[in-house]
């Protein structure tokens, strides 16, 4: 019983900052502090008229869509190879691919910065951010897709090939539909990570900032903080919707291949 109370208190601790967001987003004051002074939707209105923000949002969505697509494709390759085949150096190879999960993000950021700017002598752009985001999102995609691929019965594809399908069409017609929910789930998680990522984007972003980089700039100006709260409220709502869809699909995918859901994907 006391454990339950502790767990609930812990959840409140986890959610404390997020709960404050909408409170200040609708608060009619330029200072982010208590006591509250009244209700307003002014800050949301201001979001609509801020041109620089729209550019940053477009950038971030572009980066997030491409990152999510690429890292999901790489994730499918790794998860399928890990689940269906034995090959030389399997553990080492998969370990290297999963490494960004524990690597400090600043290390990924500075090492890519050096390669792009000093060695290849290229400029920074959205593509440098994408390159880094694919690297850090792929391990998460693999973790999710492992759930979909691991308990897939290889004999189903073999049966399809015995019945005359090629290796590729057997995959497309048999395996692909079974792992589809996992694939969409992986896409959505990667999309959310990329959309929100700041530490790496700050180093690698080009002339056009991503949304978190833009927000970082706003945080220095006290007068723009209420707008940040409004923007944050929208972002949190959006993330929760995407994550809920991802979670539902992940579970449906596991049910489809007949795995008992052990909860969580890490």
């Amino acid at each position: 019983m006391s454990l339950r109370i502790y767990a609930i208190a812990y959840l409140i601790f986890l959610y404390a900052p997020i709960i404050l967001l909408p409170i200040f987003a609708f608060n009619d004051a330029t200072i982010i502090a208590f006591p509250l002074s009244g209700f307003t939707t002014e800050w949301f209105g201001e979001l609509m008229t801020t041109k620089a923000l729209h550019g940053a949002v477009q950038n971030s969505i572009f980066i997030a869509v491409i990152t999510a697509s690429l890292s999901t494709i790489l994730g499918i390759c790794a998860a399928r190879a890990g689940a269906m085949y034995n090959f030389p150096l399997k553990r080492g190879i998969l370990g290297l691919v999963m490494l960004p999960l524990v690597l400090p993000e600043i290390i990924v950021a500075v090492s890519l910065l050096i390669v792009v700017v000093q060695i290849l002598d290229l400029g920074l752009s959205n593509w440098t951010v994408i390159a880094a985001h694919v690297l850090i999102c792929t391990p998460f995609c693999i973790a999710i897709l492992n759930g979909a691929f691991q308990n897939l019965d290889p004999s189903m594809e073999e049966a399809a090939m015995d019945l005359g399908e090629s290796r590729w069409s057997a995959f497309r017609l048999v395996t692909f539909p079974l792992v589809m929910p996992g694939i969409i789930s992986s896409f959505l998680i990667a999309f959310t990570i990329s959309l929100d990522e700041f530490i790496i984007a700050f180093f690698l972003t080009g002339a056009n900032p991503t949304m978190p980089v833009y927000i970082w700039g706003l945080l220095r100006f006290p007068s723009s903080l209420p707008i940040v709260m409004a923007l944050g409220t929208i972002l949190v709502a959006l993330s929760i919707i995407l994550l809920t869809i991802a979670e539902i699909l992940r579970r449906r995918g596991m049910a489809r291949v007949g795995v008992k859901d052990k909860g969580g994907f890490l």
């Binding site: 502090a33 600043i106 910065l113 390669v115 693999i142 927000i215």
Partner: protein
């Protein structure tokens, strides 16, 4: 050609894993190699001098500021790891042992949601919570527990620790949960049948069996926290800056990438050394028991 490539299972597996492998080699292994190389070079404004030198490392050893920052960073990461894992363990235990099986996913989902949402804004909101006119201070003032706002909870190392412990909570809970789920429940029954109390069963059976998850949780919190510069920048004030802030400054403001690279390497080496030591001590502890 193609049929030769896909002739054996091993080759098919390698072919299948090659896209993520090549990607990781090109964008992870190669850049990590480049950063090591770079740390032995020097930079004068925009020109990079590629003669091999240990000057960057010498500077790090000789100037006390770097040592102080590194020491503080390791202290913060260590404390954050300790606090996070300690607070997370009971939650993971609760979800694994006391929540109905069909509700477990829901609990884990609720725990992970805050982790995915707007990192920057979450850190900033801790400022609102811990600030001079913040939630904690106004709350405590209204209850009458304090007479004037507390100042030791913002713009110092404490604030950095609280915020990081919050940010990394799910990272700690999930591996511990997975390890607890794997424990064969009949072992606990056996222990109780053989006369152990619930308390001693926990310490002699559950805790040692959950050790792999605990170790994973420690590493997955300890290693990445060393690279966070957002939280110290926003929460740390003048006295709460960490090594990651210095690395960031060397790269982006001071244009001394080689020194920044050397600092990043030194920080990584320290973290890796401590992690390996921890894993080693943990193995000895577990072996000593059996």
């Amino acid at each position: 050609m193609w049929s030769k490539l896909t002739a054996t299972e091993g080759r098919r597996g390698l072919l299948m894993v090659s896209p993520p492998l090549v990607y990781a080699l090109l964008l992870l292994a190669f850049p990590l190699g480049a950063i090591v190389l770079f740390s032995f070079w020097t930079q004068n404004f925009m020109d990079v001098d590629t003669t091999f030198t240990l000057n960057n490392y010498r500077e790090i050893i000789e100037k006390p500021i770097y040592f102080a920052l590194l020491q503080r960073s390791l202290f913060v990461s260590g404390t954050v790891t300790f606090v996070t894992v300690l607070l997370a363990f009971p939650v993971a235990y609760f979800v694994s042992f006391h929540v109905r099986p069909d509700r477990k996913s829901l609990w884990l989902f609720l725990i992970t949601i805050p982790f995915w949402t707007s990192y920057l804004i979450r850190v900033f909101l801790w400022k609102v919570i811990l600030g001079y006119n913040g939630v904690v201070n106004t709350g405590l003032l209204n209850i009458g527990l304090i007479d004037e706002p507390l100042t030791f909870i913002l713009y110092n190392v404490n604030a950095v620790i609280i915020t990081l412990a919050h940010a990394f909570a799910p990272f700690a809970i999930l591996p511990i949960f997975v390890a607890l789920e794997k424990i064969d429940r009949s072992l606990l029954e056996a222990s109780l049948d053989l006369g152990e109390s619930k308390f001693t069963t926990f310490f002699r059976v559950t805790l040692p069996l959950s050790m792999p998850g605990l170790v994973a949780a420690v590493l997955i919190v300890f290693i990445p926290t060393i690279g966070d510069y957002v939280t110290p920048e926003l929460m740390g004030g003048a006295g709460g800056k960490l090594i990651a802030n210095m690395i960031q400054t060397q790269f982006l403001a001071l244009n001394n990438a080689p020194l920044g690279a050397a600092l990043a390497i030194v920080a990584m080496l320290c973290v890796t050394a401590i992690s390996l030591l921890f894993v080693f001590l943990n193995r000895r502890y577990l072996r000593g028991r059996s």
